[in-house]
């Protein structure tokens, strides 16, 4: 070592005062809703970290949550209500006072309500308060309400809720502690992302489990999978059915589970041409029937009955019936589902499909696990142990965003039922309030609406049959988005992606006011951007806009702001009260029920208001029942926090489940507690009630759990939830299509309903493959980078340093065949247009698929980014070449580009071709749109020195000892042998220690 300078007085300050105060709240940088600790110093945010006690994130925090400071610091924050003064799209506004803005909005809304409330289309996007906004729509009286689930999650929600009473999405999770074989279908980085990351870390570190990723792209989670299967997009259902074929043929199925917990044994009437064909056989009291080995027909609820799953039986009526299982088995045993038959279409070798099926069978049936937890089933029969087949599955966006997503998701659930892995040790676990009865809950309201009159129920619900559709006498849609019509009967989340087009087209009816919140529908959703801009700006011959009024609420200067007539600026998530309620979208885990609040942690510095407060104020101005008292005064004068504490949806059940009742002792039920929010804040802004071990699995048939669920208000009765391999609900729609019943589809829709309302899972090619496969040889899909999923990240000074532009990723061999090299500019064409993008070659992608990061491209002038920002010049959207409509039928009519069962937008169906640009065209993306106005925002800074004034003063305390930290979550330690003290990593010798 050379002799050199040694300075002796440079001891670093190891003990600065970090913050003046730490406040707990709930993150809103995406949809996870993690608990956070916000350190505040000198009225600025010093640091945001995960709350170690929180049930969702247990102390971790992702890149988005960690970038919250820059979201709060964003120069794109709207400052004041805006009234449009230029043409729509120009972004020219004048600032107005809130009283004027609210009076204006209330005036427009009152005019509509006094005439026909359904002329208001109220769609709330990324809303996390849907039980509140849905109730507002109900009290106002419009059926035209939904959030963004129609282009996000509804295939997963509906397929799950119509099959197993729960769903993947974020409403269930693999049993990370016990699963030995985990299959993830498609990109799933979008929901539950911190819990899934934590689970994957735990699962891989256990070293006794295999993680299989079925995904066209080997990015993100797929990168750490033991096996990556680069499937062709939209073919997952066929792959799953081939696995089912293999399992059935080899008799690797859980007979007992099917008999006890599913409707596999229920007898299905076989009477072609009869109104009862395909319905379940029932006794005089309406209970479905099963057959025993001796041919006796008994109600399925007979506790002593041992049903059989095959055979043909004669009903008292003389009609024949067979168990649902047999219909299912006959279908998938067909040679058309054999691995060889599907391999090419699926893009996976037959040998691989066969091996995966064998691996599933091996883990499920040869590696069964048993937990020594006695429990009692719904019928009171004591069970000594909890047995599980440790195969688990998860799916979300990659399955959901295809036009065959509903049936594909149902096929995955069928596979889970066949091998008995739902809500068992090692399998997929429900999170409360799920499971619910299949299908769950109330039906959609709004068959009839009247001036100045609330709806008789919530606008969104679950149809149980054709009688629950919202259609007129001729069978035409009643809702502006055509939800719950014969075109998309089970559209339980609405079709937000159809609203703007339909409102423009006046199809099925014109509206007067379009009111949207927190969803950038004018830019990157699932719709075609140039068309959407046209719909929003198009005028009638008299010069007025075709969509007469557009009110929009957003916290930031998004592309959609430019098209609004009136902008109601929202706060950031750190400036507001909020509740994450079990009434809409809970944050429970498989271990227990939970809900949470947000509290304001930083003071407002501009003239904006929380959206929910604004809706309460509008409710009072409109004199809506529930919002305004008889004397016209506000029922919740304290705003949303007042509502959170004092609103009761049904007696003793309100938005928050914790600390209810006057003394705060109520959980789930109890009157209002004035100190409820204090109790939440004291507890870190969340409430959790953990299950006892005996309530933890088999929840669909677990007496203790079912009774708890009734007490908490999640279930009406402690009856078992029977899972449906065969959907009679679907068959009811099909029978209507065949000409039975009072309510039948219009003739031109009969074939469509007949085809897609198959009571068993079905696979068909995504519509884009059928219609436009020729000439467009490549599939094109998107995902968002993990540091931006579900976030507003492109304006975030830190996150945009990670990703500010997006290339088109192409398999190297595919690129080579077209003479494309890294960095070339390409025209990417679809039947709907073309967009220019820069190529990036890779190998971890299905060769017939190209992909890109979604929602990076920004319109010039939006988000207060400079006009030469890479998001503008090089970032592109595939939306420019996606259509929200399918090509015209023969009669010119265009269906929504959506799943025909649920209305889920099919934005992953896209087919494209690629062609290298002329060198002269290299350098900038196209199409390029005119800049939108700055809406009175300040110039963004050139230099950020955030934190320069936050460096702590030395506390001059003696240094404390440092400690080792393995993995990072003490919370997760100890549940499984060999992991200590965090879930991250395993050390030699620990396994033995833990077992002792």
């Amino acid at each position: 070592m050379t002799e050199g300078i040694v300075l002796r007085d440079e001891r670093a300050d190891t003990s600065p005062i970090v913050s003046d105060e730490v406040k707990y709240t709930t993150c809103y940088m995406c949809a996870c809703r993690c608990g956070i600790k916000v350190h505040l110093k000198d009225n600025q945010i010093r640091y945001i970290e995960g709350n170690p006690d929180h049930p969702v994130n247990k102390g971790v925090l992702c890149a988005k949550g960690s970038a919250g400071i820059m979201q709060q610091n964003s120069p794109a924050k709207l400052q004041k209500p805006l009234l449009r003064v230029g043409e729509r799209g120009e972004g020219k506004f004048k600032e107005i006072e809130w009283e004027e803005a609210l009076d204006l909005a209330a005036g427009w809304l009152q005019d509509v309500r006094s005439d026909d409330p359904s002329k208001l289309a109220f769609f709330t996007g990324r809303d996390q308060s849907q039980s509140f906004t849905g109730w507002w729509a109900k009290q106002y009286g419009t059926r035209n309400f939904a959030a963004h689930g129609g282009f996000c999650s509804v295939n997963m929600a509906a397929a799950g809720l119509y099959s197993i009473g729960g769903s993947f999405w974020e409403f269930g999770e693999p049993d990370w502690d016990h699963t030995k074989y985990f299959m993830m279908f498609g990109v799933a980085e979008d929901h539950d992302s911190n819990p899934i990351k934590m689970g994957l870390g735990k699962l891989k570190t256990r070293e006794d489990a295999k993680f299989v990723s079925i995904n066209p792209v080997r990015s993100g989670y797929s990168a750490i999978a033991d096996e990556w299967i680069g499937i062709t997009p939209g073919a997952d259902g066929l792959f799953v059915m081939a696995i089912i074929h293999e399992l059935l043929a080899a008799e690797k199925i859980d007979w007992d589970y099917l008999k006890r917990y599913t409707n596999a044994s229920w007898l299905v009437i076989q009477a072609e041409g009869d109104a009862a064909d395909g319905l379940f056989a029932r006794n005089a009291t309406g209970t479905t029937l099963i057959a025993t080995a001796t041919g006796e027909l008994l109600p399925h609820s007979d506790r002593k009955a041992d049903p059989v799953l095959v055979g043909t039986y004669t009903l008292p009526s003389g009609k024949k019936a067979v168990p649902a299982f047999q219909l299912m088995a006959e279908r998938y045993l067909e040679d058309t589902y054999a691995p060889e038959a599907v391999a090419e279409r699926v893009g996976i070798k037959a040998d691989t499909i066969r091996r995966i099926a064998a691996e599933i069978a091996d883990v499920a049936f040869e590696q069964e696990i048993t937990l020594d937890i006695p429990w009692t089933d719904w019928a009171g029969r004591p069970q000594e142990k909890m047995t599980g087949r440790p195969v688990s599955m998860h799916a979300m966006r990659g399955i959901s965003a295809h036009s065959n997503g509903f049936h594909t998701c149902r096929a995955i659930h069928l596979l889970q039922m066949l091998i008995g892995t739902i809500d068992v040790p090692g399998g997929f676990r429900h999170k409360p309030p799920f499971p619910k009865p299949c299908p769950p809950g109330p039906t959609p309201a709004g068959k009839e609406t009247a001036a100045n009159t609330p709806l008789n129920g919530m606008p969104l619900g679950f149809p149980k049959g054709p009688e629950d559709l919202l259609v007129d006498e001729a069978g035409n849609p009643k809702r502006i988005d055509k939800a719950y019509s014969w075109e998309y009967p089970l559209s339980a989340h609405g079709l937000m992606h159809s609203v703007i087009h339909n409102a423009w087209a006046g199809d099925p009816a014109e509206i007067d006011v379009l009111f949207m919140y927190m969803s950038n529908m004018g830019w990157n959703s699932t719709m075609n951007v140039p068309d959407t801009i046209r719909y929003l700006t198009d005028k009638k011959p008299d010069g007025s806009y075709k969509i007469p009024r557009f009110i929009y609420s957003d916290a930031y200067h998004s592309e959609t702001v430019a098209f609004a007539d009136l902008v109601l600026p929202d706060t950031t998530y750190l400036e507001r009260w909020d509740c994450i309620s079990l009434l809409d979208r809970p944050i429970s885990s498989a271990h227990g029920a939970a809900d949470a609040i947000r509290q304001p942690v930083v003071a407002l510095d501009r003239d904006v208001r929380p959206f929910q407060d604004v809706m309460l104020d509008l409710g009072v101005k409109l004199n809506l029942p529930g919002f305004a008292a008889e004397d016209g005064s506000a029922i919740y004068p304290g705003g949303y926090s007042d509502y959170m504490v004092n609103h009761e949806r049904t007696p003793d059940v309100g938005p928050l489940a914790g600390w209810r009742g006057e003394d705060g002792s109520g959980q789930g039920r109890g009157g209002a507690n004035r100190a409820q929010l204090d109790a939440y804040i004291e507890n870190g802004c969340f409430w959790e009630k953990k299950f006892t071990p005996e309530q933890s699995y088999y929840k669909f048939a677990n007496k203790s759990y079912l009774e708890e669920a009734v007490h908490m208000g999640w279930l009406a009765m402690p009856s078992p939830v029977v899972m449906e391999i065969y959907s009679e609900t679907m068959q009811k729609f099909r029978l209507a299509a065949r000409g039975f019943g009072d309510r039948q589809p219009p003739d031109h829709l009969r074939d469509r309903v007949e085809t897609f309302f198959d009571p068993l899972p079905l696979w068909y090619a995504p519509f884009a493959d059928e219609d436009k496969g020729e000439g467009f040889p490549l599939h094109a899909v998107t995902q968002r980078p993990m540091h931006m999923y579900h976030s507003w990240g492109s304006q975030n000074a830190w996150l945009r340093q990670i990703t500010a532009r997006n290339p088109l990723f192409i398999h190297a061999d595919t690129a080579a065949a077209s003479g494309i090299t890294d960095g070339d500019w390409l025209w990417v064409s679809s039947p709907y247009g073309k967009v220019k993008a820069q190529a990036k070659l890779m190998r971890g992608v299905n060769p017939h698929t190209v992909w890109t990061w979604n929602a990076i491209g920004k319109r010039k002038g939006a988000w207060n980014l400079k006009e030469d920002a890479p998001e503008v010049t090089k970032g592109f959207l595939l939306n420019h070449i996606i259509s929200e409509l399918l090509p015209p039928r023969e009669d010119g009519y265009r269906y929504s580009n959506s799943d025909p069962v649920t209305g889920q937008a099919a934005w992953y169906d896209l087919r494209v071709s690629i062609e290298k640009c002329d060198a002269a065209d290299f350098g900038e993306t196209e199409p390029m749109f005119e800049a939108q106005g700055a809406a009175g925002l300040p110039e963004p800074t050139e230099l950020l020195r955030y934190g320069a004034n936050l460096k702590g003063e030395a506390s001059h305390l003696d240094p404390v000892p440092m400690k080792d930290w393995i993995g990072n979550r003490k919370e997760n330690a100890g549940k499984k042998s060999g992991i200590k003290p965090g879930h991250g990593n395993q050390i030699d010798g620990d396994s033995e220690k833990e077992k002792e």
């Binding site: 070592m1 050379t2 050199g4 300078i5 040694v6 440079e10 670093a12 190891t14 003990s15 005062i17 970090v18 640091y47 970290e49 170690p52 102390g59 971790v60 925090l61 890149a63 992302s193 990351k197 994957l200 870390g201 891989k204 570190t205 990168a223 750490i224 043929a249 080899a250 080995a293 055979g311 045993l333 064998a358 691996e359 069978a361 993990m786 540091h787 000074a797 830190w798 945009r800 190998r843 980014l865 400079k866 920002a869 963004p940 050139e942 230099l943 950020l944 934190g947 702590g952 506390s955 305390l957 404390v960 000892p961 400690k963 080792d964 930290w965 393995i966 991250g984 990593n985 395993q986």
Partner: protein
């Protein structure tokens, strides 16, 4: 030039990064940024944050790339990289002012901004590219291993770990004393064959990387093939009828 500690302590604080489970989510990088922009080296300046070339100081960056392998079909690797707090840190010995130094008590390599003249010799000397020059401040900055967090009695005990470690959702990052062979992190490194990054540079990095575990592709010990119980689909159903309805 600056000396390394003449009497280095046995304590060598550092990170262990598990490449088997890193999904490349950037949580560690951003949480590091937010802690440190108000910490020892505050601020981590960002230039042109809303413009054409947003560029800032980051102590931790994630590199994503593909590695091809004919046998296993290749792998996508997410590789987080920050200062490795080397034993033989060339960034220290090259420093003309003594600004760059290695702490005697725990081996953490720090920069004293008051003495840094922004000559950038250290960034040239570091083979890992782990130094971050703050153009605005005119000084070199780098990972501090959250020296103002890990010992800080003003924070609850569970928070006294580097920000990148406490925030990592998959648990891919561990922290501890790699100079103590009995520490949990040292045992982890031993068990998982943790390795030095670019050992040929002879910097003796403290941080260790854990290689990806072998993939379970199913080819090594495949389960028994599934054998159909009958020749045809009708045969399978007929078999079940026989089996279950024999009574």
């Amino acid at each position: 030039m600056t000396s390394l500690p003449t009497t280095p302590s046995k304590k060598k604080l550092g990170l262990v990064i598990d490449l088997d489970i890193c999904v490349g989510c950037h949580a560690c990088a951003v949480n590091c940024k937010e802690w440190n922009t108000g910490g020892h080296s505050a601020p981590l300046t960002d230039t042109d944050p809303y413009g054409a070339d947003p560029t800032g100081v980051w102590f931790n960056r994630i590199h994503s790339f593909e590695v091809e392998n004919e046998d296993t079909g290749g792998r996508t690797v997410h590789f987080p990289k920050s200062c490795l707090h080397c034993d033989d840190a060339p960034c220290v010995t090259v420093c003309p002012t003594g600004a760059s130094y290695k702490r005697e008590e725990d081996g953490i390599v720090l920069v004293n901004a008051d003495h840094c003249i922004g000559c950038k010799l250290c960034s040239w000397a570091c083979p890992y590219g782990a130094r971050e020059y703050d153009e605005d401040a005119g000084v070199m900055k780098k990972c501090t291993l959250c020296v103002d967090k890990i010992y800080n009695p003003n924070l609850p005990e569970e928070s006294r770990v580097p920000a990148c470690v406490s925030t990592c959702p998959v648990g891919a990052r561990s922290f501890g004393d790699l100079g103590d062979p009995d520490s949990d992190v040292s045992k982890l490194v031993a068990k998982r064959s943790g390795y030095d990054l670019m050992p040929e540079q002879e910097c003796k990095p403290t941080n260790k990387y854990l290689p990806p575990r072998p993939k379970k592709l199913g080819n090594d010990a495949p389960p028994p093939e599934l054998a159909p119980v009958a020749d045809s689909s009708a045969g399978v159903i007929a078999r079940w009828v026989d089996k279950f309805l024999s009574a």
